[in-house]
Amino acid sequence: MSLLSVTEQEYLRTSLESKNNNNLQPIRPDGRKIDQFRPMGISLDFLPTSNGSTRLVSSDGTEIIVSSKVECVDATGLDLGDFLVIDLDIQGYRDDSIYVNQMKSILYKSLNSKLMESGCLKINAKYSFKLCLDVLVLSKFSYPLSLISMAIYTTLQSTNVPMLLESESEKNANISGRSGANQPKDIELNIDELPQFNDYDMKPLNFQSPLIFLIALIGDNCIVDPSELESSVADNCLLVSFYDKKVTAPIKSISLNDSYIKGFTPQHLQKSIKLVEKIAPDVVAALN
């Protein structure tokens, strides 16, 4: 938490609250525009024992490591929620603290339904992949959810899953092609066999995970990617998810500090969604 005097806080607030007249933008302490992110660096695939991995370092010193692992599971009797495991470890916070659990549940909710819809984890009628995402936040200075969602995005983009042996995938294609005929004998055979994977060939998972944008509301202004100082004087904060070229649920508000908490108006919401719609395609392009 930053230690600012009352005067310093007021100064910061006034400069961030300033109205958008004469084309003047609110003045952010680090000189960014309202729709500008802080620079960050991403390195991919540095863990050979994981299917995909990312190390994200932001310019303020936030460092996040994400690893994805897939395993083959028997899908019969499993719920839709059993195919994704997200583990979040933030240094300096207990695993069972509200802070960590809230973030974990937002990530899980935004990811799980889309992952199930896309069907990219399915192997055949009986077997499926299970995706385990481990997030390790080595250090953080502002609310890290947005950066975590970006790290997860690049991890899943670089995740490779084992390919079925050719004979196996043909057999599956045959079975699904003949699903109209529905011969019970074939289906039984299929159920009894474990899928056989190719030893060396992998294929990309092909799933674009939703991105979560953090929009801080100060006065009438909406600013993206608030830094630690900005978070400490923000009225409120909106989490806006972006998936498949449009803004989607969940959209959620969180408070970033204890001293300035105000509600927000529909105009704020509209403005934030517009802002995300404007910047998100560029962010997605940059992450690809």
Binding site: T49, D60, G61, S67, K69, D95, L136, L138
Partner: protein, 248 residues
Amino acid sequence: MSRLEIYSPEGLRLDGRRWNELRRFECTTSTKNSSNNSDGSSYLEMGQNKVIAVVNGPMEPLNKAQVNQEKALLKISINLTKFSKMRRSNSSNKNEKRILEMQTALERTFSETVQLNLYPRTMIEVKLHVLQQDGGMMGCLINSVTLALIDAGIAMYDYISGVSVGLMDQQPLLDLNSLEETSLSSITLGVLGKTEKLSMLLIEDKIPLDRVESVLSIGIAGCHQIRDLMDAHLRRAGAEKLEKLSHQ
């Protein structure tokens, strides 16, 4: 017996090394880009082991009861990530007995070598994150703590370098990988600088007494090699840092 040929009659091991060769050793220090993060850090790759070490301190202890008027308090914690092995472990590795034992062993080793008496009433905290493990983890942890402590500028008498040595029949093998570690009995040792003083010796398996000497001597030679590698890196990094400062 294992079906694998750990050491071939031609003198080659599973990964093509000879008996006295180390694995790939690569390290970086000051991995964090901003100074408000930590006082020192290191990233070490030793074979397939990947370890991040972060040093904070000397700083005010979080708990007043921990204050020692004479010297600093050294705290080392190990975070063995769930994804560090080939198969993901479902249980959290924190507070596992094996991990706690390793932490105390490291704390004891380093509190002898770090000049803690220079920093009274403070705490020095070292956090280790194991991203991937591949045999000889303890040696790798010792090396990464040494690098991070030196990067943080904390006074030490000398380097401590660690390596594991296994015994295959009569033949000692230096720096075991995970396949070798599971099938051979091994020891881990920590050596102080270029001396032959052992600051740590960890024997968890049975080793015939008449073979211990040859095992220790190859281990000490290996530790000296690692010390030279770390020294070369730190001197290079120091020179780069100095050059950057002189340009400012």
